[in-house]
Point group: C2
Amino acid sequence: MTKFETVRRVADLRSRLAAWRREGLSIGFVPTMGALHEGHFSLVRRSVETRDRTIVSLFVNPRQFGPTEDFALYPRDEAADSAALARQGAHLLFAPDLIEMYPPGSVTTVTVPGLGDMLEGEFRPGFFEGVATVVTKLLIQAMPDTAFFGEKDYQQLLVIKRLVADLDLPVEVVGCPTVREADGLALSSRNAYLLPVERARAGALYRVLTDTARLIEAGADPAGTEADAKRALERAGFYKVDYVAVRDAETLEPLVRGASGGRVLAAAWLGMARLIDNVPVGALSPLP
Amino acid sequence: MTKFETVRRVADLRSRLAAWRREGLSIGFVPTMGALHEGHFSLVRRSVETRDRTIVSLFVNPRQFGPTEDFALYPRDEAADSAALARQGAHLLFAPDLIEMYPPGSVTTVTVPGLGDMLEGEFRPGFFEGVATVVTKLLIQAMPDTAFFGEKDYQQLLVIKRLVADLDLPVEVVGCPTVREADGLALSSRNAYLLPVERARAGALYRVLTDTARLIEAGADPAGTEADAKRALERAGFYKVDYVAVRDAETLEPLVRGASGGRVLAAAWLGMARLIDNVPVGALSPLP
């Protein structure tokens, strides 16, 4: 067993990696913004089980937050995260500061037009630019064999698969199933923003998405279910529904009636928390 | 001596590189669009002299040509290029086709805001996006120790240095001096578009840039020299001058009077050919 260690400089990350590479060890990588929960840990365990060494990054990326969003509020507890990662069997935490990731003068931006403009990209302008840029940097910094991302951020997973393919990054991208609370609420660092009364209602998001998927599988017109699902969320106490969308699971274009391989995706506000979630449609819908 | 070889697939490029890496050999890389001339060869020789193995890429990148530009016309002669590269001592030619570089569905784009928007970026919208995207891909594909670019495309050199730093690509970028004809004309594949009568006038571009640099070194206000230089080019037979600009050699912001480390850059049309060139200003102007 290697001792669990934290590095803050790209140069140190690379020197640890180079030593592992020389030993012929395979590298798994789990990029995070910290505030780690069982969703993250499931990715870490998947990496630990299948790769020789597991690196986790912790960086709250300002470039993927809009000016009115929760960058300052976003929960941070590196000590707790670090202790938990050591328990999960991770080998290295890469926790760069802002200057290490974006030295003065940094401007280069990675965009994924189309896939990055719709849904989350429409409601959070600049979000996927921020994600694509930081993930490109992190993958180039760590150059792992495999990187693990949660399906909870489904569109993000597709955007990352797209940029990895398009930029010829020699990295396998693995999407892992969403981890849920007993009432179906997808684990998310932002669930911490929910007041108890809101938390009690939050399970409705998964329930409505699952009901919508079942209706479509039973033959309903995908587009026709979206407005009903939106109303169901509003009735369940979500005060603003950014979107409920039934899409092709790979292209995120509108799903054609009767087609398999769909995904129902939604984003909706409950108090201060903007929750997102998604579920597969159709027996054939493959894991991405 | 390794035998000179041509590969067309990224996978083949990487397998050759991996073998060299296992032998501990250093890799130099010269990306080109073919139509090679002594300017390219000077980069190749610089790589051959300083690195164990030299890879040259040949790819006429459609994404850096505008819809009204000369993509179809751009000179192509792979057989001649390949023979010349073997003579110069290069080891590997990477000549992918369009589908290998941009498989259907490719959308990811790398931009360098600011540096990529001014001068060439202003007159050729999308040009630096195309350059930044293809160079990012090529550097990720080849992951050389060192990549060599000509100072003739000075702004491009700065854009590439910027993206390499910003994306943490572990590649040293080396700029090499412009190679010129006897009358000062910078070597360029596009010089082939010049009719004899135009070719006879083309040396004026370098002459005017050099005169401008000398005036500024003698104390002239940089901004004040630009209009005079433009008129001098028009008098010399250039029918359209896109810009003559006196800039800081690193940021490309307007050069302050009395500052060292400047660069005079210009783009101007002579018949079908859009010629660009640049020269240093000030004894201290460092090579980038």
